[in-house]
Amino acid sequence: MPTISVDKADLWERLGQEFSTEEFDQLLFEYGLELDEDTTAEVEAAIKAGLPAERPQLKIEVPANRYDLVCIEGIARALRIFLQKAEPPQYRLVYPPGGESEILTMTISPEVKKVRPLFACAILRNVKFTPRSYASFIDLQDKLHQNIGRRRQLVSIGTHDLDTLKAPFRYEAQPPKDIKFVPLNKDTAYTAEELMTVYESDKHLSKYLHIIRDSPVYPIIYDSMDRVLSMPPIINSEHSKITLNTRNIFIDVTATDQTKLDIVVNIVATLFSEYCEDPYTIEPVKIILPDGSTRISPDLSERHTTARASYVNSCTGLNLSASEVSTLLQRMALRSTVSPSNPDELLVRIPATRPDIFHECDIMEDAAIAYGFNKLPHKFPATSTVAQPLAISKLSDIVRQEWALAGWVEVLPLILCSHEENFEFLNHVDDAKTAVKIANPKSLEFQVVRTTLLPGLLKTIRENRSHALPIKIFETADVVFKDTSRERQARNVRHAAAVWCNKTAGFEIVHGMLNRAMKMLEIPLIGNTDQKAETGYYIKESTDPVYFPGRAATIYYRPPPAKGGNTSTNIKEGMKTALYAQCDMEIGSLGILHPTVLANFEIGYPCSALEFTLEPFKKNMNKIWTNDD
């Protein structure tokens, strides 16, 4: 959300009244703006101390979709209308005195398609700037460049002193070596090629060079005497620059996206048309497109749409007539009239300044804002439903509770970790099939999504050196594995893990934790050579480089046979038991951590670890309308 700094005294003057900070905060709050800061106290303190001080500013946060509010002109206009001190303005296109035949033209060359295809422009006549309104005009362009323009990538604006130029104009694209002009705030001419080097070290402009640098042709705007207006989206020319004394302003806008192009040219033109001798008038330009067709720019026409009072009422919980809704909309700068054919329907005219309105629901929201969200009747949805927790949450909570009751402490490390922590530190090799990797981490701590809970537990032990021994910690949470069978190419798996750290390694301690969890889940312990048991778990010695040799085991689980199977009775006993054992699945491991692993995590005491998946123990919950993720 952009924060806009406005001159407090100027704003009070524009609103025709002064507000206390609380009153103004309340007003902004109702409208959906936020007063971030009032610098009055700061300024007064500076003056008292004899320091140089700026005029008191109000810093206001505006919603990211209200481009019409990113300067004092827009905020004051919106609030005046909201306070019913002004009517929504009617923006008008006004042709030159000689009529349509005198309209200035801009010819678009077909070459621009290769780099920055879209163009719009507008002219403001007989403008009178003050130093502050001039600064606001510059600031508005910057705000639009950063927000809707996505740092000039999608849209950029140039403004020129029209009296220094001679129409007709041309928007072309040329090889950079063929472009040469004196850019803004320089006194010598450079080729576009040279400018790319010159601006390389410019803190402000270097950010935008990449947008066109590698293109064989660069966009460039000329007047009839081949004088450059600007080379979008990088820089304007020194020749046509605007000053405080500029009276006639030519605005050029170039873009890669038609919708955003239209929004930007309309916002700049309408917001600053209030400084024209004839306020809210804009002189259009005729654009001649490569195919010979023409269009008039800017297109300030209002969008005509409808909104139903019944819809507004059904969405808000109010009971308003169409004309009451119309009055509310007027305060939000939306003009409307009740349809002559349908008393429920409003014919709404959306001004060019409100591109944020897509749908009837946006109009409904404006009506609700004007009514006051906090004045809506107190209601409660009648929706009647039955509560239900997730199976995995219930299961996880059982293990968490039981382990805490057993005297262990639950910790909550991060899910993202470095590649080293997830693999090398655990003496594991990345097979490139397991872990999900992040393309753009800001720090090495966030390279992969963990596939094991161990790194977080071990880091927690490392950071808790001063804790009395033994340290007994656990976590039950998700790890993520790649899974090419799924739409998202990955799946979360709920793991439970515990680490014991003491002067002796204590394999039997974490082993006991496994037994305890299984006992509470009613999973019987079976022998690791037992082929006959129907279900249960057992552990079997294994080798895993994360563990000390001879002190590592894999945990196996034999799920209960599926209920309702009709073949089992017909199979011979021996066959049947063999089938049981075939279903055994690896669910985790435990062991004494290898001393090299301890060294990697800078832990000076022996540790034993246990980790296994909880997924096979999920209970089937009642189905609601779906039971899978």
């Binding site: 629901c361 439903t385 239900q388 790649k482």
Partner: protein, 527 residues
């Protein structure tokens, strides 16, 4: 000895009913009354032991006494310096006089120096030629006598003048002393049998509990610290909030997919493809795996069309659509991605699809809310609390991962007033009474509201959550009938937890730098 001394005190009290001055007692095994300070300290130990059993009471008196310095003790043993000098010399005419140099060798430098002067002054010795001789045959060593008296009584009958002189000579120092007056206590008896500290199984078997005396319990001290485990404070708050949802009839949504596609995380929610939230600076994208499998093609088409060209009564964003952007894999930035997926499933019957397991379906929401024919819609109230990821630089209030609490209510003709009313109740259950709602912008809800709560400690309004009604551009492509409205709201789990536990730095709450001891001592949570 200690018990004998206690017995002595009790016996003495039994006989005299009071002991005026404990200095009059003679400690068993000693021959003289306990006048020294050391003896009184020994007696104090016995008194305290008896006091704890309320067998006696005592009063403390303070006095000043004198003790010998090492030099003073040496004088008691060997005589004063002047006496030692006198003793070393021959009597006048009975041998050759001793020179001062010889004297030094005989009695030592210090004694010779101090002793000569005093012996002359006392008229005990005289000069003969270069040497010294005794001039009296008998002497009275007053210093030694005085010091002996002080050593045994701590004071001197002769009085302060002499004591002052001895102090100046650094032979004695003053010391504060104590002595006591003892009387019978409420449990007085002459038996010193140790009181019991605890009731034991032996007492129960033997029945001695009936006759035993028990030591007074110190109710001011803390009990023995428990051993035992602990749950993490953030997850204790999670449980409390989960319970609020369950109490209000919500079903928990599956959220077990940290990895999402641009489609489900943003596009399905009608977040424009050029939205800043989708920037590399804000969202973690994956390098491996990179691309999602395509979603169901008809739905995908409806979503891309409403973005690019509009539809369902909307103009849409009218911006170019990128399939690449849509299929990019990322770590979800909000659990609303999961909610979108759930809502899509909820609308399956509205789309005319068969829902698996229909026969045994558990009626989560009542099916009788519509007036018209059954269009397959069932109301739902859903929630989730799970981790989300933002590509942020970590600081005291931001982590790259945090927990989002999310609630969704879907029903016909829900209103904004219902949402606000519901939020008031929901936050009231979290202990937040004073809330207000600010219109806000969110690409997938309209209206959108930020929820502000008045924080009495900070004395200002703070933002506690976001809410809104999902846009028709999101719901209608899923297949929901037009009159179905869906409320959604979200808040972070960390924020209320930090407020609950008065934590300023999030890194002391989440992550590996959290103190285990802190977890062990985190109080329970009851909103």
């Amino acid at each position: 000895m200690a018990e004998a001394l206690q017995q002595l005190v009790l016996d003495t009290l039994d006989a005299r009913s009071t002991i005026e001055d404990t200095r009059s007692l003679t400690i068993p095994g000693q021959s003289a009354p306990a006048t020294s300070q050391e003896d009184q300290i020994t007696i104090l130990g016995a008194l305290n032991s008896l006091l704890s059993r309320e067998m006696i009471v005592y009063e403390t008196h303070e006095n000043l006494s004198h003790v010998l310095t090492p030099e003073g003790s040496q004088i008691v043993e060997l005589g004063s310096h002047e006496a030692r000098v006198w003793a070393a010399l021959p009597a006048k005419g009975e041998g050759s006089p001793i020179t001062p140099l010889q004297l030094k060798k005989q009695v030592g430098d210090e004694t010779a120096k101090v002793g000569q002067g005093r012996a002359f002054k006392n008229g005990w010795i005289g000069k003969e030629g270069d040497g010294l001789v005794k001039i009296v045959l008998n002497i009275q060593d007053a210093t030694q006598v005085d010091l002996r008296e002080i050593a045994s009584t701590g004071t001197l009958n002769e009085g302060e003048k002499v004591l002052g002189d001895l102090r100046k000579r650094k032979l004695i120092v003053q010391r504060k002393g104590q002595w006591f007056t003892v009387n019978k206590g409420s449990n007085f008896s002459t038996s010193t049998a140790k009181p019991e500290t605890d009731l034991t199984v032996d007492m129960l078997t033997s029945g001695t509990w009936k006759s035993s005396t028990f030591k007074k319990y110190n109710f001011d001290a803390e009990g023995v610290p428990t051993t035992g485990g602990a749950l993490h404070p953030l997850l204790k708050v999670r449980e409390e909030i989960r319970n609020i949802f369950l109490e209000m009839g919500f079903a928990e949504m599956p959220t077990s997919s940290f990895v999402e596609s641009g489609f489900w995380c943003f596009d399905a929610l009608f977040v424009p493809q050029q939205h800043p939230a989708r920037d590399l600076q804000d969202t973690f994208y994956l390098s491996d795996p990179k691309e999602a499998l395509p979603p169901e093609p008809d739905y995908y088409k409806r979503v891309s069309t409403v973005h690019e060209h509009g539809g369902f009564g909307s103009t849409g964003y009218r911006a170019p659509w990128s399939h690449e952007e849509s299929s990019k894999l990322l770590l979800r930035t909000h659990t609303t991605a999961s909610s979108a997926h759930m809502l899509y499933k909820l609308a399956a019957k509205c789309r005319g699809e068969d829902v698996e397991g229909d026969a045994g379906e558990f009626a989560h929401g009542s099916s009788t809310t519509g007036d018209g024919p059954d269009d397959g819609f069932r109301p739902a109230k859903l929630f989730s609390i799970d981790r989300v990821f933002r590509n942020e630089t970590m600081d005291a209030t931001h982590l790259a991962e945090f927990h989002q609490v999310e609630g969704v209510v879907a029903d016909r003709n829900l209103t904004l007033a219902d949402l606000i009313g519901f939020m008031r109740v929901f936050f009231k259950k979290m202990g937040i009474e004073k809330v207000r709602f600010k219109p806000a912008y969110n690409p997938y809800t309209e209206p959108s509201l930020e929820i502000f709560a008045f924080h009495p400690m900070l004395d200002r309004w703070v933002e506690v959550g976001n809410s809104g009604m999902f846009r028709p551009e999101m719901l209608e492509p899923m297949g929901f009938p037009k009159d179905v409205r869906v409320h959604g709201w979200g808040l972070s789990l960390e924020r209320p937890t930090m407020i609950r536990y008065g934590i300023n730095n999030i890194r002391t709450l989440v992550g590996h730098k959290v103190s285990i001891e802190g977890i062990e001592n985190s109080p329970a949570v009851m909103f």
